[in-house]
């Protein structure tokens, strides 16, 4: 809750400053990690994520005059990023050679980034197994389910924010999230 509150305050600050040309750099600095992270988690390729991120901010910069504060700045930027990732994913389906890109991420490597907070080896191994399962399941989700799943459980967006960023209705977002969670639970071996 505190993290979200701090995020909101910083976001309002960044939004207020967007009107001034000199402050766009501050907006980029503040939101870049989030946009890059979403693109990276969606595409699993560092170079593609960087390209999407740059494209996102370039488009935002060019269209900044049209930003009317109808949604938050984060939602607006995420909306651009979601569209770019979606367009890229659709084009990518026809470009099989891209699967062999050197910067593409090993689908079984995310568990290496599990933070070891002094836990015993058994607990750490268990956490890594869980992360591997979630990562694999997320990769197998349909595009829309994966997008809303990442926006909710990685980027901490609220349902209404996800709806605004994806152009879906709130109920539709919820349905996609339910299905995504079902798939994740199944992969993790649901017990109830």
């Amino acid at each position: 809750m505190v993290r979200r509150a701090v995020t909101r305050v910083m976001e309002q600050h960044a939004t207020a400053e967007l009107d001034e040309l000199e402050d766009f750099e501050a907006v980029v600095q503040w939101f870049r990690p989030r946009i890059f992270r979403f693109a990276l988690a969606s595409l699993r390729d560092r170079d593609l994520a960087e390209t999407i991120t740059q494209d996102c901010f370039l488009r935002a910069y060019l269209a900044r005059a049209r930003f009317r504060n109808e949604c938050s700045l984060q939602t607006w930027l995420m909306q651009i990023a979601v569209n770019l990732v979606r367009d890229h994913s659709r084009n990518r389906r026809l470009q099989f050679w891209k699967r062999t890109r050197q910067t593409a991420f090993d689908a079984h490597g995310l568990e290496r980034w599990v933070v070891d907070r002094g836990r015993d080896p058994e607990a750490l191994t268990s956490s890594r197994e869980q992360v591997r399962g979630v990562w694999k399941a997320a990769g197998e989700l349909p595009e829309k389910q994966r997008t809303v799943f990442l926006l909710r459980f990685v980027e901490d967006l609220e349902l209404l924010e996800i709806a605004a960023a994806t152009g879906m209705k709130e109920g539709t977002v919820k349905v996609h999230l339910f299905r995504a969670l079902q798939a994740i639970r199944k992969k993790l071996g649901a017990t109830v």
């Binding site: 990690p33 890059f36 560092r46 933070v115 399962g133 997320a138 993790l188 649901a190 017990t191």
Partner: protein, 138 residues
Amino acid sequence: MKSHLSSEQISEWMLGQRSARAREHVRACLECRAELERLEEALAQFRGAIHQWSGAQAAAVPPVLVTSRPRRFAWALAAVAAVLFVCLSVAYIQNRAAASLEPVSDAALLSQVRAEVSRTVPSPMEPLTRLIPSAENQ
């Protein structure tokens, strides 16, 4: 305990939509509580791992090129472009000058070859031919 939370109720719980009935059930049902804790833990670890990975990857790539002052180095760029233009122009003019000399050199070379071909004796023996009377010498 008649039944456990449905898949939908578990999803609602994970989205923070927790009814009083669901809370009551989770308090009483060890299995459902364990399942929710396991799922929450897995998603928290997943989130943490993505953040760590993304942070490391972001550090490995150059920063975004978008800048609020795109014309900051416009004069410097214009100066560099002007210098490059002058250098390239000078190089081009020198090349053209060298190329214009080439026909003269070719002509000289050709006349030299003709002279060599027209000789009746090798050049070291040419002085001897002057001692021999011939129709041409006479």
